[in-house]
């Protein structure tokens, strides 16, 4: 850096430092004048705290308690500054006249708030003790390694997919399998000469897939599809999560899939037959799951709504595959359903 550049940088830093001090002064002045009510900033903190994840009941409660502690003190000194001098004088005079009464009331309110907070802390201790003794009923964790392969033998599905991928008008590029678990189907695709990679949110499953030499990374389906470039995939196989997602998540997933697939690319949804899922999931897991499998006809309807063509349903034992092709760029746009299934966007 030249001497001139260094001098310029120092001058810029000094200037901005001065501006920063002026801004600090302005904030102090406006706070004193009551332009910036502290209650508004506090409300912002409180509101955002409501959206924070509740990792555990205790974490959330402790956070809420801290917030309540901060809010349980009322300031006796009211802001008396004003941008106009006579107003400031009026505020000061009123404050002087009423100070004894305001202090009297505020002190009692503070005592009351402190007592309430003490009760809440005592309750917190008691609830914590209870939580230690009682096992809370929590929804059963979803098995990390769901069987994602369509039946015991993936060969028929691989054949079906290869035919689509090599059809005239099919674009070149990679095929993504989400969620691929330990990669049995992915391995079969790679073995059939398909340039495929996989994602899976499960640590153990994805590590096993990587150890067997497959291109697999740990990622969730929605996050990954949201990051993949537009129209960059030649094919997409969705499985696993398709059985347990909520309906809204499934629709978002299909919307993102439509964005990520190139014109003419192939989309395949491998799901479990609802009857088979009811039989194998068990009553508790079935009742508490956020979503339940859709029938193959429903998937076919949803992908058709998004404008996919050549929709084909293949039974695969207790599972099924719905395979479809994204319309070519010059094909007419589809008519989206009444709820706008075709209007998915990353934004």
């Amino acid at each position: 850096m030249s001497t001139d550049d260094m001098a310029d940088e120092q001058a810029a830093r000094a200037y901005l430092e001065r501006v920063r001090h002026e801004i600090d002064d302005e904030v102090r002045r406006r706070r004193a004048a009551g332009d910036f009510p502290p209650s508004f900033e506090r409300r912002l903190d409180e509101l955002f705290a409501r959206f924070t994840p509740t990792g555990s009941a205790d974490d959330h409660f402790t956070e809420a308690l801290k917030l309540a502690d901060r809010s349980a003190y009322f300031d006796i000194d009211v802001p008396i500054g004003s941008r106009r001098e006579p107003k400031g004088l009026v505020k000061w005079s009123l404050w002087q006249a009423e100070a004894w009464f305001v202090k009297y009331v505020t002190t009692q309110v503070n005592h009351f708030a402190a007592s309430v907070m003490r009760v809440v802390h005592l309750l917190d201790e008691r609830v914590s003790d209870l939580e230690r003794d009682v096992t809370l009923l929590t929804p059963p964790p979803l098995p990390e390694e769901e069987v994602l392969v369509p039946g015991a033998d993936p060969a028929p599905f691989v054949g079906l997919l290869r035919t689509r991928l090599s059809a005239p008008g099919a674009p070149p590029g990679r095929v993504l399998h989400a969620e691929c678990a330990d990669g049995v189907l992915l391995g079969a695709l790679a073995g059939a000469g398909v340039d495929a990679y996989g994602i899976d949110p499960g640590t153990a499953a994805s590590d096993r897939a990587v150890a067997s030499g497959l291109d697999v990374r740990r990622d969730d389906v929605l996050g990954h599809l949201g990051s993949v470039g537009d129209e960059s995939l030649a094919g997409l196989v969705l499985s696993g999560c398709v059985d347990r997602m909520s309906l809204a998540e499934r629709r978002r997933m299909l919307g993102l899939a439509e964005l990520a697939l190139a014109p003419g690319a192939t989309l395949a949804v491998i799901g479990t037959m609802p009857e088979a899922w009811e039989r194998t999931a068990g009553p508790v897991a079935a009742d508490l799951a956020p979503g339940r499998p859709l029938h193959p006809d429903t998937w076919a309807h949803l992908v058709g709504q998004l404008g996919f063509t050549g929709v084909e349903v293949s039974p695969l034992g207790d599972s099924f595959a719905v395979v479809a092709t994204k319309r070519a760029a010059d094909a007419p746009a589809p008519h989206a359903g009444p709820s706008g299934a075709g209007a998915a966007s990353r934004r």
Partner: protein
């Protein structure tokens, strides 16, 4: 002995992220220096798959004359794989965001960050030389006992954003601007370490006190789902649903449109090892207001208004001052553009060419 080949390794190779772009530029520098050079990765995004080789194809035996250059920004099994290889190794440290900043929002990121810190410790001793994006990153390497280091900012091309901008995005942004109000912009992955929630709070204050028609654009890919969705819900509850846009990832042309229409770039990030978007904003003449945290002050070097007090009202007041006081704005833009000239792609390539030669020279013998 001088290597004949320097191969780069990155766990996941994407075309849109900062490290992906840096790795591609660096490969060109290495090849220009006369080295053979490839990019190896565990997984590649489809759009850049043809640009790289997969580690699954890596031969088990050592390759004579070949060195590795590993890019570390998070924990990955790839770091273990490279550490165990017999070839000499170089490290490019982009910093690892501390896991606690992701908190309960992205539990997997906490695990990866913790693993990354551990791998940094291991690799800093196993590598012959380490590059750091900033002096801030270099200090972390020194603290681990790694002494052969050099600060070299990442390679990126700020002029690429001056290219044709996305027409549709520009039209939409212009339409919104027609109704008046300032446009706030932040570019970066949507995650709690970047503290976009602090931006929403500051923006809410700004709308309430200074400009009730302003808009906030949060551009960047999502890390997980919980935090970005919470931001959207938070904004909606504040009545700002139509004023706060959490856009998701943007192409270069779309990003160019956002920078071209922004009135101010505001960064509340709690952890940055360098922060390329700050340089992009300065380069494109957008005034920058940022939290004075980690490496941001070093990157901005007098080209941005840095704040200690990140209370919402303080940030709102600072932005208002920048947007309403022409002298402050003009000074800030001029200082930013002056600073951004240090990061042109041409200068960056020269810096990296020198740095690689220094690393090769000083790595003639392995570390003690």
């Amino acid at each position: 002995m001088r290597p004949t080949r320097i191969d780069q390794v990155v766990p996941s190779f994407g075309g849109r992220d900062a490290i992906g772009a840096h790795v591609l530029h660096l490969r060109a520098v290495l090849r220009d220096q006369g080295y053979e050079s490839d990019i190896w990765c565990q997984g590649a995004f489809p759009e850049v798959r043809q640009q790289c080789r997969l580690l699954a194809d890596l031969p088990a035996r050592a390759r004579p004359g070949a060195w590795w250059l590993y890019h570390l920004s998070s924990g990955s099994p790839v770091a273990e794989l490279i550490r165990a290889r017999p070839e000499p190794k170089l490290l490019d440290y982009h910093n690892v965001t501390p896991g606690e900043l992701f908190g309960r929002w992205v539990p997997t990121a906490v695990e990866e960050a913790d693993a990354g810190r551990k791998q940094l410790d291991d690799l800093s001793h196993a590598c012959r030389f380490a590059f750091a994006d900033s002096a801030y990153n270099e200090a972390e390497l020194h603290a681990l006992g790694c002494t052969r280091t050099r600060v070299v900012p990442p390679l990126f091309d700020p002029d690429a954003l001056r290219g044709p901008v996305d027409r549709q995005t520009t039209l939409r942004l212009r339409e919104e601007r027609a109704g008046g109000g300032a446009d706030w912009l932040f570019v970066g992955r949507v995650n709690p370490a970047k503290a976009q929630h602090d931006l929403v709070k500051a923006f809410a204050c700004y709308r309430r006190v200074f400009d009730d028609r302003a808009r906030l654009h949060l551009v960047g890919s999502w890390m997980g789902q919980d935090y970005p969705r919470a931001l959207v819900r938070f904004a909606a509850r504040l009545g700002l649903g139509s004023a706060v846009h959490v856009t998701g990832p943007a192409s270069e042309a779309e990003l160019g449109a956002y920078y071209a229409t922004a009135d101010v770039f505001v960064c509340a990030s709690e952890h940055e090892g360098f922060c390329i978007p700050v340089v992009e904003a300065m380069h494109l003449g957008v005034p920058v207001v940022a939290r004075d945290a980690t490496a941001v002050a070093e990157t901005a070097a007098g080209g941005a208004l840095l704040l200690d007090d990140m209370s919402p009202m303080a940030v709102a007041t600072a932005v208002h001052r920048v947007l309403s006081d022409h002298a402050v704005r003009d000074n800030l833009v001029a200082a930013g553009q002056r600073r951004a000239r240090d990061f042109t792609l041409e200068r960056g390539r020269r810096r990296w060419a020198e740095a690689v030669e220094e690393a090769v020279r000083s790595s003639a013998r392995p570390p003690a």
